[in-house]
Symmetry: C2
Subunit: 228 residues, 2 copies
């Protein structure tokens, strides 16, 4: 619970037009920036973006209020950087993992495992990503939304590959969004002391999800007798 997102490093973006000096100082700047971003993730996670003040971030990071503005042009940029780094990292790792994996069912398990592993190792950044989903506006909001669509698309493609390979019929949209619901909800309840860790959770949720999709798709016995 203490600290997460232990890996925000060299976010790599326009920043405020830093120039490449010979050796060190660039690294110093990035490391300091990453340090503040980690604290900011924690505070945004605890109090929400609107509920957290720049003074809270100042206190948490040990830097003066004005000092923060040497690294970030606004509070909104802080949120943007956290979300962008978190999301691009997940997508990046997923792409790498999918490369060495061709079985449709296995690829979906890979998706789930990747998502859960990152989520549970970076709970705070993950909560900021999902909880402040529609907080960013304009260009910054559009950019995050684009990554989100990309992530959705990857998962949808995985499911449609499975559907084709098994000759099934089901709504890919509903399946993807159900899966997203399952895995994005975890941050609200996961307790490392009583719940399984990433690998075991991914296996269970994978079983669960795949059996749901595979068996609900081709009705063998008692299909939908829905009413209630």
């Amino acid at each position: 619970m203490a600290l997460a997102t232990p890996d925000i490093r060299s976010v790599g973006l326009p920043l405020n037009g830093r120039k490449a000096k010979p050796d060190l100082p660039e690294k110093d700047f990035d490391r300091r920036m990453a340090m503040v971003l980690e604290h900011a993730s924690r505070i945004f996670c605890e109090k929400g973006y609107e509920g957290a003040s720049m003074r809270d971030l100042s206190r948490a990071s040990g830097m003066s209020l004005a000092g923060l503005y040497h690294y970030f042009e606004s509070k909104e940029e802080l949120l943007y950087l956290i979300q962008k780094h978190t999301f691009t990292t997940i997508v990046e790792r997923l792409r790498e993992r999918l490369e060495g994996c061709s079985d449709p069912e296995e690829r979906i398990r890979t998706f789930i495992h990747n998502h859960l592993e990152y989520s549970l190792a970076n709970k705070e950044a993950m909560k900021v990503l999902t909880h402040e989903d529609d907080t960013l506006k304009n260009e910054r909001g559009a950019e995050i939304a684009a990554i989100k669509r990309e992530y959705y698309r990857i998962c949808l493609d995985l499911l449609e590959d499975l559907r084709r390979s098994q000759g099934l019929q089901f709504s890919g949209r509903l399946a993807v969004l159900s899966l997203f619901g399952m895995v994005n909800w975890i941050y609200t309840w996961h307790n490392p002391r009583i719940d399984p860790h990433a690998v075991a959770m991914a296996a269970q949720m994978g079983d669960f999800f795949l059996h749901g999709v595979l068996y609900a798709a081709k009705p063998k016995r008692k299909a939908s007798k829905a009413r209630a």
Copy 2:
């Protein structure tokens, strides 16, 4: 998208010590209060609790800023009333529906149907309930948390009934929380123009969830070969 929560009426709580006058005025007060609560749901849904100001609520409800404080003692009480009414209504309706239904599988379908029907008919209040889950503190927060535990408990019991009746083995906790994830995530994506309505969605998600639970529990063919 315009307005939801069309049924906040006579919330029935201590209030600020209203006394029962002969006939009408009590009703007037409640109706006016409910009107403000509906607008508040919409604004909290759009801008978040922290992001919404009392001036926003004043503008939306057409009542002066000071006038609001005749009906509510604080901004926090507004959130509390919205959450409490939403949650108790869901639980109430669920209990009624479960009374005329004994088959374990059917009871779980009833749970899903009840949740989805209310969710889709009251999207804004539902988002306020789930998105501001840990915003309330102290007594008010504890009271909402208690209802939430009750709701969780009901669902867990339904699943354990199913497990017992079918002689299965699976983690009730993981199943309940996966189901909650699926249904509580809906508010982030459901589009009434392209997605099914409550009954059809409940049927599909019910199929999906029940097959996942039933088949993943007793591994018949290719169970968990998890890795990734």
